[in-house]
């Protein structure tokens, strides 16, 4: 399996290198869909210039990345293109390895269940075969590396690629069962953009499951493990933040990075839901609606964790999708990360209901973004409402996609415990209805 992966990596790197050399690179790095005020390379360069002048990079309200990133590029600025390509490669390989491991576990669990005769007889067609699962890791890597969204993001040198790499490493270390590395990468991801905080629940559930500790609030072992993980997580977060302080010599970065993410002062249009809403709103409602919008990201963690506590990896996927839909400055790079997981759930395809509609809408919206941007900004004949309408549609399609996968996953689990061909009490064929 190493050969196809190497080939894939070579293709991906070639495509990126060719695009870096073409005239498209400048155009792409200006697109609001690809870069946000947080991740724009232009702003990193500005921050570096300020740093070289001995001024705090956060003075002047341009640069909003974290101190570690700017010190990373302080050394690597000449190799920026290679760094971003490397980040994509790391993400893809990490996802590849983690999905490979995850599939092994899924298969082992399925074998035990089969041996224990836990599945109803008519569910045999839902059982997954190794043949079908063989190519899934490769497909995951392919979905990430050859996704136009990832390529655009990488060519624009959006620092989103680095965040994705950190999250992918977190997923890998979690699935491999390494508690310490998992906590460290999670704290790094949190440090980068706050929102990955919600992945904490999924990681905990997974690690607990792996160490055969039942999720029972009355058990000491449960709390002991949670405390261990929390200690490692908070400890490394503390170390990273402290390191940033000592590197920079001031706490400037806290309001400038996290304040910027949470209070959304920059209303440049992007593919998210925030900009139009807050541009239109009366100032005195701002705080209230900020809370409402930001809670969206965090709130779904609770019900999803309760419902999916047996399936933490699916929970990670759901959380990544929720983050990329509801975060304050989303870019297409965030979407690419959770879309890379779609091949893992390819066995759910028979239960998906709206996949055709959703993929049509996503496709059409991706094409319409630049068109409506052109009409609004350059031709001046359309206005922001046109662009926001497409943003809204794009996000609705994403939500439909995620909820469709959620429904399909639950339905498969239901069938696995109750049999594929459900009967009503009177013996006629029953259908499952989502209400």
């Amino acid at each position: 399996m190493a050969a196809p992966l190497t080939l894939l990596l070579l293709v991906a790197v070639t495509v990126r290198a060719a695009l870096y050399r073409s005239s498209l690179a400048d155009l792409i790095s200006e697109r609001v869909e690809v870069v946000s005020p947080l991740t724009a390379w232009k702003r990193v360069v500005e921050g570096l210039a300020l740093l070289d002048l001995g001024v705090s990079p956060y003075s002047g309200d341009v640069f909003h990345e974290t101190p570690l990133i700017i010190y990373l590029f302080h050394f690597l600025v000449d190799y920026a293109e290679i760094t971003f390509m490397l980040a994509d490669v790391i993400t893809a390989v990490a996802l590849y390895l983690s999905v490979k491991d995850y599939n092994k576990q899924v298969f082992r669990k399925q074998k035990y269940a089969l041996e224990a005769d836990r599945y109803p007889l008519d569910c045999l067609e839902l059982i997954r075969s190794p043949k079908e699962m063989q190519y899934i890791p490769l497909k995951v890597a392919m979905f990430y590396l050859l996704n136009p969204f990832t390529i655009l993001s990488c060519v624009a040198k959006s620092t989103c690629g680095l965040n994705n790499a950190v999250i992918a490493l977190f997923v890998l270390s979690t699935i491999k069962g390494n508690v310490l590395l998992s906590a460290i990468f999670l704290s790094l991801a949190t440090y980068q953009s706050i929102y990955p905080l919600t992945l904490c629940a999924a990681a905990l559930l997974y690690l607990l499951q792996r160490q055969y500790i039942p999720v029972n609030l009355r058990r000491f072992s449960f709390w002991w493990f949670v405390a261990q993980y929390a200690f490692m997580y908070l400890g490394s977060l503390f170390v990273i933040v402290g390191l940033s302080f000592f590197l920079l010599g001031s706490w400037d970065f806290l309001p400038s990075v996290y304040g910027f993410i949470l209070s959304v002062p920059d209303l440049t249009p992007n593919i998210g839901l925030f900009w139009y809403f807050f541009a239109e709103m009366f100032e005195h409602f701002r705080l209230f609606f900020l809370c409402v919008f930001q809670i969206n990201v965090f709130f779904y963690t609770v019900p999803l964790s309760i419902k999916l506590k047996e399936h933490p990896v699916f929970l990670i996927f759901m959380q990544l999708a929720v983050i990329s839909i509801f975060k304050s400055y989303p870019t297409v790079g965030d979407i690419a990360l959770y879309m890379a997981f779609l091949p893992v759930w390819s066995h759910l395809h028979r239960f998906l209901r709206n996949i055709f509609l959703v993929s049509c809408v996503l496709l059409a919206c991706s094409a319409l973004f630049p068109v409506l941007w052109h009409l609004w900004i350059y031709a001046g004949s359309a206005n922001s409402n046109f662009y926001y309408a497409i943003t809204l549609l794009f996000n609705v399609a994403q939500i439909l996609l995620v909820s469709d996968y959620f429904y399909a996953f639950l339905r498969r689990e239901h069938h696995l415990s109750h049999g594929l061909y459900l009967k009503r009490k009177d013996g006629s064929e029953a259908t499952l209805v989502l209400k």
Binding site: K131, E132, V371, A379, S381, A382
Partner: protein, 612 residues
């Protein structure tokens, strides 16, 4: 959401849509065409009205007296033009200076990618002369432009005369709050392009021009004047700009309002407006006017010197004097008064024109159809594509019973390959169509007895035709195409076409609609099972190149200048060369759109027809 989440209702809806797919598609097509034709029917249109308050409620009094003197200046200009054999720069500078303007010149030069045989130019060198009347009443942050082209021969001398007369008259008035720039541009659009790029410090097409020495504020609106006789019967308003962009409708409203006030006959597309909308001839007149606008817009080229302003967010139109043998005569004084009135209203603007519509069609100067009314016509056509895609999706999702459990990974990878090969090959053909004509002209001229222009056009046609031979070779690859391979390809092609046409229609409705009118039936009916020869014939007839050919004939017919087949063919060739030139000179997007996207998409359907 009940419809989407209740499985029984979904099943019912889907079975309805698949069972009645063909009839629904036919009905949609008919309804789309009928809707479009209905747009010209007067009760379905809206009357134009002035939306901009700054221009609506204020009264201005037009007092321009010096029409005869302006015509005299025009004759003087004509004499100097003949003597100089081109733009009489020195005379113009002197005259403008004597009228109290700040005068500047701009030199520019441009080598065309190949000789333009319509206008007989290849190496273009010229000079623009412009004078700025500084606003006495306000900080000079905004400007208006009045331009007149300096054309070869005896054309447009009167326009320059009126422009200079207005400059002199405006100089003596105190109420100007915006700079007024009087521009005489040489080599029509090329000069205009050079001036606009110089004014805005951009260079999008790689032209050489000397930087502008003087500038006004940001330009709010511009009018371009074309007059070729001392007395005109009517004034024609030209709105269509680059890539089918239109100025704000308020500019047309302003022109119409002043024509009504002063009592000048006004036309659009050279057609007077009629009052008998309920008669057949009245309706067909409105249809003709609207169709002319649609065809001009679809061509994507600027139909007057104003067309390039629109790219810079400047509302602009061309006013053209028409002289036919009608009884009604308008002299230069009246035209001057009309322009004076329009500029004084524009002078009152507090912000850019934005209140009224940007997306509209005009069946007559006093009526318009806005985007909300015309989009459904396109939507009905696009719906056909979505219905076909849904139908194909359902056919693919429910495979025949004998191979119920194929391993999906093995099913999908040849499927993907068999779709990817035609996609890549047809796009490469598109790239060839886009790049080869200009690059191969020298070789073609060496080896064949043709001129450069003919070489470019004929190469384009040759590449286009050669593309038709491709599908026979695309899927003789290493693998056997799967049983339902063409369905996957068709699904991809249909969705591709839907997105492509949708985006086109948003930017340039007319182009999108005309392409949809011919491409949608192709996309809907083509399968490998239909009779080959007949379908191939129909497909070629409905291909983009033939659409263009029919459009040329239809356009001539609508202008009441029908041509013979041979003349039409020559016209067709020159239209192609003009399209390529427009792209190279002004950045018109129609040629790359057709070559790089529409044609490859059509080739995909051609591929499906010959699927083995």
């Amino acid at each position: 959401m009940g419809l989407l989440s209740d499985p029984n209702r979904r099943r019912a809806l889907i079975s309805l849509l698949t069972r009645l797919n063909a009839p629904i598609c036919v009905v949609c097509y008919m309804a789309g065409v009928a809707w479009f034709m209905g747009l010209a029917f007067e009760p379905f249109t809206l009357r134009t009205y002035m939306s901009e308050n700054a221009m609506g409620s204020t009264m201005v009094e037009e007092r321009f007296p010096a029409g005869e003197r302006a015509l005299g200046t025009g004759r003087e200009f004509s004499a100097h033009k003949k003597k100089a054999g081109g733009m009489p720069v020195d005379w113009l500078v002197k005259t403008m200076q004597s009228r109290g303007l700040e005068v500047f010149t701009q030199r520019f030069s441009r080598r065309l990618p190949f000789p333009d045989e319509d206008k007989e130019r290849y190496m273009v060198k010229g000079t623009n002369v412009y004078g700025i009347l500084r606003a006495p009443r306000a900080p000079r942050t905004e400007a208006l432009v009045l331009s007149a082209p300096c054309s070869p021969g005896d054309d447009n001398n009167q326009a320059v005369g009126v422009l200079l007369g207005l400059a002199q008259y405006f100089r003596n008035q105190v109420f100007w709050a915006k700079d007024i720039i009087f521009l005489v541009n040489e080599h029509d659009l090329i000069g205009m392009q050079a001036w606009l790029e110089g004014y805005h410090h951009t260079n999008t097409t790689g032209m050489d021009w000397s930087p502008l020495q003087g500038r006004g504020g940001s330009i709010q609106a511009a009018l371009s004047l074309e007059l070729s006789s001392d007395v005109v019967t009517s004034l024609d308003l030209v709105l269509e700009g680059l890539n089918g962009q239109l100025p704000n409708l308020d500019l047309a409203n302003l022109f119409y309002a002043f024509c009504q006030k002063i009592g000048v006959l006004c036309t659009t597309q050279g057609k007077l407006q009629r009052n008998d909308w309920d008669s057949v001839s009245g309706y067909s007149h409105a249809v003709q006017t609207m169709m002319l606008m649609v065809m001009k817009q679809a061509s994507g080229r600027p139909w007057g010197d104003h067309g390039l302003f629109l790219r810079y967010h400047i509302e602009a139109a061309t006013i053209k004097g028409i002289n036919s043998f009608r009884q009604y005569k308008t002299d230069a004084t009246t035209i001057g008064r009309l322009l004076e009135g329009m500029y004084r209203k524009l002078n009152n603007l507090l912000e850019r024109l934005h209140q009224s519509y940007f997306f509209y069609l005009m069946p007559s100067l006093s009526h318009f159809v806005s985007i909300g009314y015309y989009m459904p016509a396109f939507g009905l056509l696009a719906l056909i594509l979505l219905l076909r895609a849904l139908d194909l999706w359902i056919q693919l999702a429910t495979p025949p019973t004998f191979n119920l459990n194929p391993p999906p990974s093995q099913m999908s990878s040849p499927g993907v390959l068999s779709v990817l090969t035609p996609l890549v090959i047809s796009h490469l053909t598109g790239v060839a169509l886009y790049t080869l004509p200009i690059h191969f002209q020298e070789i073609a001229v060496e080896h064949f007895p043709v001129s450069e222009t003919e070489a470019v056009v004929l190469t384009a046609i040759a590449v286009y035709t050669a593309g038709l031979a491709l599908p026979h070779n695309t899927h003789r690859g290493l693998f056997v195409p799967p049983f339902n391979g063409w369905k996957v390809l068709k699904l991809v092609a249909v969705l591709y076409l839907a997105v492509l046409l949708g985006c086109t229609a948003l930017i340039n409705f007319s182009l999108g609609f005309i392409l949809a009118l011919t491409l949608v039936p192709v996309a809907a009916f083509v399968t490998p099972d239909v009779p080959k020869a007949l379908s191939a014939f129909i497909m070629v007839i409905l291909s983009p190149a033939c659409t263009l050919l029919f459009s040329v004939f239809l356009f001539q017919e609508l202008q009441e200048m029908p041509v013979s087949f041979l003349d039409g063919w020559m016209l067709y060739l020159s239209v192609i060369s003009q399209g390529i030139l427009d792209h190279a000179l002004y950045g018109s997007l129609v040629y790359p759109l057709v070559a790089l996207l529409v044609y490859p998409c059509w080739l995909l359907f051609w591929n499906i027809l010959f699927w083995k």
